[in-house]
C-alpha cells in the first residue's frame, strides 16, 4: 500500500524556479552593465558561474548529497552572479574564483548548504576579498574606457598588464576621495559638474545599471518572490539619512538620488537584503532589517574607509536577523488584541 500525505494537489513551484526567476530579474541590470560599462562583466559572470557549479558539485560529493537534485536548484548560480556583479569588472580571474570558492565552500556548505547559511554567501565573498585584496577590489575601469572585449579578456586573464586606465574608482569612491582631498575647498556641485564621471545623476553608466536592478526588483515583487518590506525600508533609510545630511550641508553630502543610484544600493535593496535564508522573515522583522541595513550602509560608505558599505551592513544585519525574527513574531489568527 502506498502512502502519500495530503495535500495531493501542489502548486507548480520549486526552488529552481525561484532561483531562475531571481537570475531573470538580474538581466536588465546586467544588460545595462555590459552595454554601458563594458562586456567584461559577461566574462566574469561565466567565470563565477563555472567556479560556483564546480565548487557546489565538489562539496555536495564530499557531503554525500544527491548531486543532480541540488545542482539543478540554481542557488549556486545566483550566488555566483551576485559575486560577479559586486566585484570590479576587470578584476583578475583568480580574484573572482577565490571569492566564489569562499562563498560556496565556506559561507554556504560548511554551514550546512542550501538554506542553512547564516550569512549571505556573496557578501561574505565580497567582504573576504576586500579585506584581503583591498587594492584589486578598488580598481574600477576609468570612465569612458574604450577597450575591445579581447583586451578586457586579456586583462582579466592576466595576459595583459593592468594599465593605469584600470585603476579608476567607482563614482561613490571618487567622490569620497575628492571630498577628503579637497577638504572644505571642493563642493559637490562642483564635482558633479564633472560630467565625465558622475553622469546625469550618480555616475555615468552606473545610474542606468542601478535602474536595471530596480526594474528587475520590481518584477520580483510583482511575482511575489520578494515582499516590499525590506527594499522599501532599506531605500527609505538611505533617502532619509542622506537627505537630512544633504539638506544640512549640501556642499559636503551628496543628494539622496546620488546615493540611491550609486554603488550597491539597488542591487542590495532587491537582491541581497531580500535573501530569505540570511535575512529576516517576519514583516516587521524585514522592515527593521532593511532600515538598519540602509542606515549602516550609508554610514559605512560615507564615513568609513571602504568604497561601499552595503556588504558590511548586510553581514552585520545577518547577525541580528534571528533575534529580530524572534522579537517580531506576528500575532496569529484570533489572537490580535488578546493577551497571549
Amino acid at each position: 500500500m502506498m502512502f502519500a500525505p495530503a495535500p495531493f494537489l501542489l502548486k507548480d513551484a520549486s526552488v529552481s524556479q525561484v532561483m531562475t526567476q531571481v537570475c531573470l530579474a538580474l538581466i536588465p541590470g546586467i544588460a545595462a552593465y555590459a552595454w554601458l560599462v563594458g562586456p567584461a562583466i559577461l566574462v566574469q559572470l561565466v567565470i563565477a558561474s563555472l567556479t560556483a557549479v564546480a565548487a557546489e558539485a565538489a562539496m555536495l560529493k564530499l557531503r554525500g548529497k544527491p548531486l543532480a537534485m541540488f545542482l539543478s536548484d540554481g542557488s549556486a548560480i545566483v550566488t555566483a552572479w551576485l559575486i560577479a556583479l559586486t566585484f570590479p569588472p576587470l578584476a583578475p580571474w583568480w580574484l573572482v574564483v577565490t571569492g566564489t570558492l569562499f562563498a560556496i565552500v565556506i559561507a554556504k556548505h560548511l554551514y550546512g548548504g542550501l538554506g542553512q547559511n547564516p550569512f549571505n554567501p556573496a557578501m561574505v565573498a565580497f567582504a573576504a576579498c576586500i579585506v584581503s585584496f583591498p587594492a584589486l577590489m578598488s580598481q574600477w575601469p576609468s570612465v569612458g574606457l574604450q577597450m575591445p572585449l579581447l583586451d578586457q579578456l586579456n586583462v582579466i586573464l592576466g595576459l595583459a598588464p593592468r594599465v593605469d586606465a584600470l585603476s579608476g574608482a567607482t563614482p561613490l569612491d571618487a567622490m569620497k576621495t575628492a571630498l577628503k582631498l579637497g577638504e572644505g575647498q571642493i563642493d559637490i556641485a562642483h564635482l558633479l559638474a564633472n560630467q565625465d564621471i558622475y553622469g546625469n545623476f550618480a555616475g555615468r553608466g552606473w545610474e542606468w545599471v542601478a535602474a536595471g536592478y530596480l526594474l528587475g526588483g520590481l518584477w520580483l515583487w510583482r511575482r511575489k518572490l520578494v515582499t516590499w518590506h525590506a527594499p522599501v525600508a532599506f531605500l527609505a533609510a538611505m533617502v532619509l539619512v542622506s537627505g537630512a545630511l544633504w539638506l544640512y550641508q549640501p556642499a559636503s553630502f551628496a543628494s539622496p538620488l546620488f546615493h540611491l543610484l550609486s554603488g550597491g544600493t539597488m542591487l542590495g535593496a532587491f537582491f541581497i537584503i531580500t535573501d530569505p535564508v540570511s535575512g529576516c522573515t517576519t514583516p516587521r522583522g524585514k522592515l527593521i532589517f532593511g532600515f538598519s541595513a540602509g542606515l549602516l550602509a550609508y554610514i559605512i560608505r560615507v564615513f568609513g574607509g571602504y568604497p561601499d558599505g552595503v556588504a558590511f551592513a548586510v553581514l552585520l544585519m545577518n547577525l541580528s536577523a534571528p533575534l529580530i525574527d524572534q522579537l517580531t513574531q506576528p500575532r496569529i489568527f484570533g489572537m490580535k488584541g488578546r493577551q497571549s
Partner: protein, 575 residues
C-alpha cells in the same frame, strides 16, 4: 440583505475541478452485497452494539446505542441479516480496525415503523435527545454529534448561526448537488436549528463558484418566508474552514486552538447536517445514508446517495474508474487521505471518494531543504509561521513548536501546497502534535504512578506506626498488669511501710505514649540503618568506564552543590 464580507489572511487557489462531477444529478446507489457499519462514526463515546449475529434487522433499526452524552446512535441502513458484530477495517488513515456491524441486505429495503415526531410538544432537550437517537452528526468533516452544538451557552447570546455550504475543497460537489436538488429540506432543517439557538441572524455561506446552488437556496428561503441570508463568499481555499467562514461572514476571529465557537456567539453547521436533521425531525428517518461525490480518475464522475457501510471500492465502481487507478482518496485532495484498505466502508463523514492515479496526482518531487522563503507563512490562514514550526518539529523541539502555536494549525495544507522545497509541512506538524499528545499521556501516567507509589509508601508507614503503637500499648498494659499484681501481692503480704515494689511500679508502668515514641524511634533508626546499608556502594570494582564516569560526574555535581558526603544526603532524605 447586503452583508459586508471580511477577508481572512492567506489561503490558496488550487484548481477546483468541480465541473467534473457537478453536471449530473444525484443517483441512488444500488444496494451493495454487504454493509459494514462501524459503530464509532462520530466524535465522542463509542456506541454499544444492541444486535447480535443472526438477528434480522429492519431499515432504520437501532444497532448501536449512543454511549454517554457526546455520542450518537447508529442504525441499520437497510433490512437484512446481521452476519457478525466484529472488528473490521475502518476508513481512517491509520488503517486500524474497529467494531462494526456487518449486515447482509435481503433486498427488500423494509423500513422499521417511523414517522415525524410532534415537534410542537418537544422541549429543546427533547429535540437534542431525538437527534442523538437518530444518529445525526456533523457531515462536514469531523462528525461532531449535532445535538452537542444545539445546547446554547447561556453566558454568551447567540449572534450568528452560520450554515457552512462553502465546500472549498477541490473536486467535492456533494453539498453543491444537495443544495441544487434538496434546498427545501435544508432550509427546514436550518429553521429547526434557528428555533433552538435563537440567533440574531442566520447566514448561509456558499462559495461563489456555485451559482446554481446559491439560486436554489435563495428560492427555497424565499418560498418559506425565512429571513436567512444566502451569501456568496469569494472562492479561496480554505473558506469552508469553520473559522475562516466565520471570519468572512462576521469579521470575528476564533483562534484555531479554541474548540467551541459558541463562546464567541457563533455556531456553524454543515449544510448536509441541516438536511440530515430535517430528515430526522420532518420524516423520522435516522441518518443511514449520505451524498458522496465519486470523482477523480473515473469515466463518469457524479454524486450518489449511498448507504452508510457501503464498501468504498464497490461504490467507486459506479463512476467507472480508469484502469490506472491506484488508490482511493477519502475527502478532498487538500485534506483527505489515501485509504489504507479500499474495502473500508463509507461512514457519515465520507463526503467524497477520489480515484487516485499518478496521472492526476503526480508523485511529489523529493523534499529539498527549507529556504525560508516565507511562502508558507503568506499562505497560512491562521497566520502561523510554518517554516519555524517545521524547523522545530524536525529538531523534535516540541516545546518550541507549542511556543509557535502548533495547536492553532488546522492542517488545511496551504503551506504544503505552496512550498517550493516540496516539504510535506503538514506531516511534520501532525507528527509534532501526536508526539506532544503521547508525551502528555506518558507524563500523566507517570504522575499517576508517582501519586500511587507515594500513597503506598504513606500507607505502609502509617501501618507500621500503628502496629508499633499497638505493640507498645500491649507492652505497657502487660507491665501495668504485672505491677498491679506485684502491688496486690505486696498488699496481701501485709507489708504496709516498706514498699520497694510499689516504688518501682511507676517505672515499669511507663506512659503508653512514651513507649510508642520509643518504639517509633527504634523503628526509624532501624530503617535509617537499612538505608545506609542500601546506599553504601556495594561494588566499586569491575566498573565499566561509563559507570565510572557517571559516578565521577555525580560526585562532581555533588561537590558543586556543596554536598560533601553522600551518606548524609541519603540519611536526611525526607520520609
Amino acid at each position: 440583505m447586503l452583508n459586508k464580507l471580511f477577508k481572512f489572511y492567506g489561503g490558496v487557489k488550487p484548481p477546483s475541478n468541480k465541473t467534473l462531477s457537478n453536471a449530473l444529478p444525484i443517483v441512488q446507489a444500488p444496494l451493495p452485497s454487504r454493509l459494514v457499519v462501524p459503530l464509532h462514526q462520530s466524535i465522542g463515546g463509542m456506541p454499544r452494539p444492541v444486535v447480535q449475529a443472526g438477528e434480522r434487522v429492519l431499515k432504520g433499526q437501532l444497532i448501536g446505542q449512543a454511549d454517554g452524552w457526546l455520542s450518537a446512535a447508529v442504525h441499520a441502513p437497510t433490512s437484512g441479516t446481521v452476519l457478525e458484530v466484529a472488528m473490521h477495517v475502518r476508513p481512517h488513515v491509520s488503517g486500524l480496525d474497529s467494531l462494526c456491524v456487518v449486515i447482509e441486505p435481503d433486498g427488500q429495503d423494509e423500513w422499521i415503523a417511523h414517522g415525524p415526531p410532534d415537534i410542537a410538544t418537544m422541549s429543546p432537550a427533547d429535540i437534542c435527545n431525538y437527534l442523538q437517537q437518530h444518529g445525526v452528526v456533523g457531515l462536514g468533516g469531523a462528525g461532531f454529534p449535532t445535538h452537542g452544538k444545539l445546547t446554547a451557552t447561556p453566558a454568551v447570546p447567540m449572534a450568528e448561526l452560520i450554515i457552512n455550504a462553502a465546500e472549498c475543497e477541490p473536486y467535492i460537489t456533494c453539498d453543491d448537488l444537495l443544495m441544487r436538488e434538496r434546498a427545501d429540506d435544508i432550509v427546514r432543517g436550518i429553521a429547526v436549528f434557528r428555533d433552538m439557538l435563537k440567533p440574531q441572524s442566520v447566514i448561509i455561506g456558499v462559495e461563489d463558484n456555485k451559482p446554481e446552488a446559491i439560486a436554489a437556496m435563495r428560492a427555497a428561503v424565499d418560498a418559506q418566508n425565512e429571513a436567512f441570508s444566502v451569501v456568496a463568499v469569494p472562492t479561496l481555499y480554505p473558506a469552508g474552514g469553520a473559522k475562516q467562514l466565520i471570519r468572512v461572514l462576521t469579521g470575528k476571529e476564533v483562534p484555531g486552538s479554541m474548540r467551541s465557537t459558541a463562546d464567541m456567539g457563533v455556531q456553524v453547521f454543515n449544510v448536509g447536517t441541516a438536511y440530515a436533521a430535517w430528515r430526522a425531525i420532518g420524516h423520522g428517518e435516522p441518518l443511514i445514508s449520505r451524498i458522496v461525490t465519486l470523482t477523480g480518475n473515473v469515466r463518469q464522475a457524479h454524486n450518489v446517495e449511498a448507504l452508510i457501510g457501503t464498501p468504498m471500492n464497490e461504490l467507486l465502481q459506479l463512476a467507472q474508474p480508469h484502469p490506472d487507478t491506484d488508490g482511493i482518496i477519502m475527502g478532498g485532495p487538500m485534506m483527505g487521505f489515501l485509504v489504507p484498505n479500499e474495502s473500508a466502508p463509507i461512514v457519515k463523514t465520507s463526503n467524497c471518494l477520489i480515484a487516485h492515479s499518478e496521472r492526476l496526482f503526480p508523485p511529489k518531487a523529493p523534499e529539498m531543504p527549507c529556504i525560508r522563503c516565507g511562502a508558507c507563512a503568506r499562505a497560512c490562514p491562521h497566520e502561523l509561521q510554518p517554516f519555524e514550526l517545521y524547523w522545530h518539529a524536525r529538531a523534535k523541539d516540541f516545546g518550541k513548536t507549542q511556543q509557535y502555536n502548533i495547536f492553532d494549525c488546522i492542517e488545511c495544507g496551504c503551506c504544503s501546497f505552496v512550498c517550493p522545497s516540496r516539504i510535506p509541512l503538514v506531516q511534520y506538524f501532525r507528527f509534532a502534535k501526536s508526539e506532544i499528545w503521547a508525551r502528555e499521556r506518558e507524563k500523566k501516567a507517570a504522575d499517576e504512578a508517582k501519586t500511587r507509589f507515594e500513597f503506598k509508601q504513606f500507607r505502609e508507614e502509617r501501618e507500621k506506626t500503628e502496629k508499633a503503637e499497638k505493640l507498645a500499648k500491649a507492652a505497657a498494659a502487660q507491665a501495668a498488669k504485672k505491677a498491679a499484681e506485684a502491688a496486690a501481692a505486696a498488699a496481701a503480704a501485709g507489708d504496709a511501710g516498706d514498699a520497694p515494689v510499689a516504688d518501682k511500679a511507676p517505672d515499669v508502668a511507663v506512659d503508653p505514649a512514651q513507649a510508642a515514641k520509643k518504639a517509633a524511634i527504634e523503628a526509624a533508626m532501624a530503617r535509617a540503618k537499612a538505608q545506609r546499608e542500601a546506599a553504601q556502594v556495594k561494588n566499586t570494582d569491575d566498573l565499566t568506564p561509563e559507570q565510572a564516569k557517571a559516578m565521577a560526574d555525580i560526585e562532581a555535581r555533588r561537590q558543586q552543590a556543596g554536598i560533601a558526603e553522600p551518606a548524609t544526603t541519603t540519611e536526611t532524605k525526607p520520609e
